[in-house]
Symmetry: C2
Subunit: 293 residues, 2 copies
DNA sequence: CTTTTGTCTTTTATCTACAATATACAGATT
DNA sequence: AATCTGTATATTGTAGATAAAAGACAAAAG
């Protein structure tokens, strides 16, 4: 297999979800724009829809014949890109303690394990190395540094430096900057989540990332914003694998965020720094508590 | 060609430089240790030395027959790894303005240009992306963000945060920590260079990196230390490509370093931060001045 | 004259193959 | 008993091939 067509499958599914409402589909470039794909892929999608009797397609006419049934969709597993598959398999190894700090990591073994080519695994590891969890010995294996206490401390230290700086930069944004509107939206979402904390506490992770990304973006510094990816990635898996006291922790974080948001709106630098540090300190504790020992 | 043997060639050359002094070479594992290579490669080197009449090799006996001649060595070009070749070609493009900010970067084109496989170019670009100069559009090309004013400012901003923090951590190192001895050595080297500034001002680059790495290491933070690589890389090419006023600039930096070193030794935090900031501010100016416009 | 479509070319993502290099282990040597 | 060598095996680094996806351009349609 030279290349997977997960992009096609995933876009096909999205397209199917949308066609119920329309009788005639828009032009090819318009569809490409909407789904973030090229015309080549749009045409492949239209072609399959035609073949499966979902639409009639003749030049500019793309008339919907029937709503899609469940088995018109590609199964979810087939829409995961190879990279997602490798990433998940790899993170599972790290977080379940299957491989412990200091262990050697073999590209070849992972490739066999996942059923992917060595090139893809290799590229994944190169990209992954920026997270500071692995290190390469040239001409030889990778070494797992591991999700250790030191890792949590070093990550938190940089995070605090960057976020305090970003929060300070936030107040310099002009009143009509879209970040303020986004801040309002995020705040509203916090209230919703707090009101429904029993059922939706798992949605916190995504909201947390959205909020901190907004703050980091205010720095206007690519290195700071890139580092947010590292944090988001680590927390993403942290939330997935460690659910002890998740509810209480998330509730506390939501309340700290609300303080932090109020401080940002006040544009009072001292207050902002205080609220920011309080929240980051408790985030650090949470992370440290989740380090396996 | 499946894989280059630059490691072999480069180690062979180093080995040759060393054999003049010895009549009998050490054991295979010892040689491997010395040159940082595996026994397999050691044996390949010994085999070639035997075939070329440089030594007699029988089990534990590896007796030197004659000193190497110039043409026993592999030519320098053949010892450059593929990655170095790709890196240099790529940096040349960026710094000569052959490609300007916003331009598309094609893996295929670079591969053709350099005469390498697309895999190697791709891996290089992935590794290179952490420098913040390029960005990937998934399923499509890379975009050159370019060595712009903003890049210089953002890099300098993070550098200052990290280095001030690291310098502060330096004073907490115990008196017997090897960093202090290295600091002495670096200081001595500064005096040597200053005394011979007319001839050796080009050696400044390496010394500069060595000094700042020492400081960054004191942070004990892998993200800070990794970021030093980014700085070192950028400055390395900056020094190579922009030699206007190099002598005056380097002399000034050497003097600032000496102040900074004295401050570190005083363990006076306020003095350290002041010296550090003065030097970093002038380094930032230097970098900004070198941005093409 | 602007947008859309049909067609063709180029590039990316991925696998496989293979030489260079590393690693494992048993027998030989000190 | 420890270290070294000989040999066999496994892994990495790199090229090349190919399907999927992107991009280019001219003809067609509004």
């Amino acid at each position: 297999m030279a290349r997977q067509n997960t992009l096609f499958k995933e876009a096909y599914n999205r397209c199917l979800s949308d066609i119920e409402e329309q009788a005639n589909l828009p032009s090819e470039p318009e569809l490409g724009e909407k789904y973030g794909i090229s015309r080549t892929t749009v045409r492949a999608i239209l072609g399959r829809m035609r073949d499966n009797g979902l639409i009639v397609w003749d030049k500019r006419n793309k008339i919907v014949l029937r709503p899609p049934k469940d088995d018109d969709f590609f199964p979810d597993e087939e829409t995961n890109s190879l990279n997602q598959i490798i990433e998940r398999a790899f993170m599972k190894r790290i977080l379940t303690g299957e491989a412990s700090p200091g262990a050697q990591i073999s590209e070849a073994e992972i490739a066999r394990d996942v059923g992917a080519g060595t090139t893809s695994v290799r590229e994944f590891l190169i990209r992954f190395s920026r997270f500071g969890l692995i290190e390469k010995r040239p001409n030889s294996h990778w070494v797992l540094k591991g999700f250790t206490l030191n890792f949590a401390l070093e990550l938190s230290e940089v995070r605090e430096m960057f976020e305090v700086k970003s929060a300070a930069a936030f107040v310099t944004l002009p009143d009509d900057h879209p970040a303020w509107a986004e801040l309002d939206a995020i705040e509203a979402e916090h209230h919703t989540l707090l009101g429904d904390i029993e059922k939706r506490f798992l949605d916190f992770s995504a909201l947390d990332e959205r909020f901190h990304l907004l703050v980091h973006r205010a720095s206007g510094n690519r290195f700071v914003i890139d580092f947010h990816d590292v944090i988001a990635f680590i927390f993403h898996y942290h939330y997935q694998w460690n659910k002890t006291h998740a509810r209480a922790r998330n509730e506390r974080a939501l309340l700290e965020h609300l303080d932090y948001i109020a401080a940002l709106r006040s544009r009072d630098c001292a207050r902002i720094e205080a609220a920011c540090r309080i929240h980051l300190a408790s985030a650090r504790e949470t992370l440290i508590a989740s380090v396996p020992h």
